[in-house]
Symmetry: C2
Subunit: 448 residues, 2 copies
């Protein structure tokens, strides 16, 4: 029987966990088992449909595995015998392991809408051939309806219009696109950008039925209207892929994710770790389970899991939740708690806002206005979160806020933040928006 | 006699100090006295000569003063009576103050080279009309020699070639341009970029004399060679502008900068504060005086000084020294301690390096390779500094490192950093270079 010190099941976070294990335990044998011939970069999937042109341009290179002596087995684990520490694959191969990592990811939610299984209704699966087929079918469509206005939905909407003069309608049940992720003013700005890109947005709109014979021809809404559609993309969200973990008797938690502790060790079995979308996430702030699925969190967890396998000492501090997107050439990014979330949690908070040109003087080329909003706890002054819209540099500016959150900086600390500035690269030192937003908030925190 | 609660002397950091005072002490009257009719954005000065086209496109708007009820007096303070707390201007106006802030900046170094006072030899003064004249004279030149390969020198060199088919030669005494600021490999990369932009670089080269009659015609080097030159730009550095402070009997420190404590309060007089280039800087790391002059530090200090005027409680943690530049479309940035500095200080250190595309997958438009190098203390794992070259986003990525340095994060902490990632905006979550550089360093720190 094949033996390996470390057996990893899964894709993106599996690769990262394997690399982390290799770095920390150079003498251990590591085997990665996965179903997919090729692992796609998950956050790049929408861009297959426009900017990068196809799934072949969005793959995680397997060269990383070879160069780190990680054996790759293409197959599907179907059973785990935890007592004997043996995994069985679909083709009956058995692999004995010492430590096992679940990195099995998530599967797209298929909502129970009548007609959802008609042809040309596409959930966003992270599968190479499947997405190639979806892309192919987009060549002949004229009317695309995207159900769900979260990140996946808006990114698909934006990309579907690139190089295609087709009708794209985004249908969202809530009052705003991206409402779960961003505050109203940023949602409104993002919606404006989508409109400018030619995307029609319908908010406060429920889908009742997918119509058509074999193939979809329309989407019927709650009010009876039928939107013409020869393709439907489902951007409703994803659930942890934990069928095998459940079958193996591992305790599952929130949303049926594998229950793990701060070492990414499963509650049920000290020899089994989990990371990424299949593992339960807890909040950096209050420690409660949170339904966050981000590739960046998955890889952070994978690094922790891999490092902890034979000496669990690396602590996961919990999910801050930092993400960014680009909608019709404008970046939107959030780290931690938004004003909406602060209100919902009945926090007493103070908002600091500032906007500035992201170059200085304004006449420098490729300028954008960057808008920063930071939420601080009123009683302590500690940063809770921040939101940014702006140009390209907003993607790293949100990571500055992430570092501030991780260190529980106060508005006063942040008012003295030492940033580097340069005319071509950043806002001016006088106007640097993170610092100025903090400066404004300081006073409200001090005065009350 | 005119009375004001707060009198600020100076330009950029003066404005920022005034704004900080206004925020913290809304009832105090604030008066700003400065010689210049218009304050230039200091870091934007090289861009006057190319990208932005003129000094009029590089000014700090005075609207900020008006809208914050800060009175502006154009004049030059020539004497301070500290006992009576009265400042006298050149035109004999007297102003009684309660608190005084020196923000008098710096003046360019004019090296004692024979012929240095010839016409068309231009030190980089931060003066509107003067720079307009320099720009004008650049219209007719054919051969420009820039003396000094620091930031100012390389930025001028790059800009002088924009829209002008002229010969630009950069002369540097050290083995590399930017050698005081960056490690060799980054210097080499920057020099390559300058060469590609058509700049001729002469390193290890000393200037002996400026030749010509009334007007410069050439630059004579130590080996006797004469470089043809109809304009010379001096980018040698700057010294604190503290003539008035010295005259007023304030204690001066390193390089004759005004001695201040962590509250930015002058050693000699509790009613006098100083900030920016005229104030002594001390290192974030060892607390010793350092000769760093950066607009971003000046504004950070100005915010602290303004906040401390009537209640000194805000501490300056010392200069980390974070800066960035753009040379022929490539960004270079450093925060804290470079490998060169670590070696010179006999630190035991570990280097973590990683490079990655700054978008993912690589096929996303406007991709650059971003190269990150981080220096950690070997014994503690604490980050000491980092260097980055890359595309536009490097300007904010260096600020992520600044936040890490400020919090004395260890390589292990940074290996678990939660960054947000997005295909169009950042490196991939697997390859994120700050995290990967830290991951590599962790092992060396652990093993020894």
């Amino acid at each position: 029987m094949k033996k390996t010190d470390v057996l990893v099941l899964g894709g993106l976070s599996g690769i990262t966990a394997g690399l982390s294990c290799r770095r920390h335990y150079p003498d251990k044998s590591v085997t990665l088992v996965r179903k997919e011939g090729t692992v796609l970069i998950p956050c790049g999937i929408p861009y297959i449909f426009g900017t990068v042109g196809g799934p072949q341009n969005n793959v995680v290179p397997d060269g990383l595995l070879e160069s780190n002596s990680i054996e790759l087995i293409k197959g599907e684990a179907v059973a785990i015998d935890r007592d004997k520490k043996i995994a069985t694959l679909k083709d009956t191969t058995q692999i004995e392991y010492d430590k096992l990592i679940f990195a099995t990811g998530s599967l797209p939610v298929i909502p129970p809408i009548p007609g959802i299984n008609k042809k040309n209704v596409f959930p966003v699966k992270k599968e190479f051939e499947y997405l190639g087929d979806v892309l192919n079918s987009m060549k002949t469509v004229e009317d695309v309806v995207i159900i769900g206005g979260g990140f996946i939905g808006v990114e698909f909407a934006d990309e579907c219009r690139k190089g295609r003069d087709i009708n794209v309608t985004l249908v969202e049940a809530l009052p705003h696109c991206l409402q779960m992720a961003m505050d109203d003013e940023y949602c409104t700005e993002a919606e404006g950008r989508l409109n400018e890109a030619g995307v029609k947005i319908m908010v406060n709109t429920m889908v009742k039925e997918i119509v058509g014979d074999d193939v979809v021809t329309g989407v019927k809404l709650a009010d009876g209207t039928v939107l013409k559609a020869d393709a439907v993309i489902l951007g409703i969200g994803a659930n942890p892929n934990t069928f095998l973990a459940e079958k193996a008797g591992l305790e599952l938690g929130y949303k049926k994710a594998i229950k793990v502790d701060r070492y990414m060790q499963s509650y049920s079995d000290p020899n089994i770790f989990a990371c990424g979308d299949c593992a339960e996430k807890f909040s950096f702030f209050n420690g409660r389970p949170v339904p966050i699925m981000l590739a960046s969190i998955a890889t952070a967890e994978a690094r922790i899991a891999g490092a902890n396998l034979f000496s669990p000492v690396h602590q996961n501090c919990g999910a801050i939740s930092v993400f960014s997107t680009m909608i019709n050439k404008r970046a939107f990014a959030v780290a931690g708690i938004t004003e909406r979330m602060a209100k919902q949690s009945e926090m007493s908070y103070v908002i600091g806002r500032h906007e500035a040109s992201d170059t200085h003087p304004v006449g420098m080329p490729d300028s954008s206005i960057v808008k920063v909003k930071i939420v601080f706890a009123k009683s302590t002054g500690v940063i809770l979160g921040g939101s940014i819209s702006g140009g390209r540099s907003a993607g790293e500016m949100i990571n500055v806020l992430s570092a501030c959150i991780m260190h529980r900086m106060t508005a006063n600390d942040m008012a003295q933040f030492q940033m580097g500035t340069h005319p071509a690269l950043t806002p001016s030192p006088i106007a640097y928006p993170i610092v100025n937003a903090a400066c404004k908030a300081v006073l409200e925190i001090h005065c009350h």
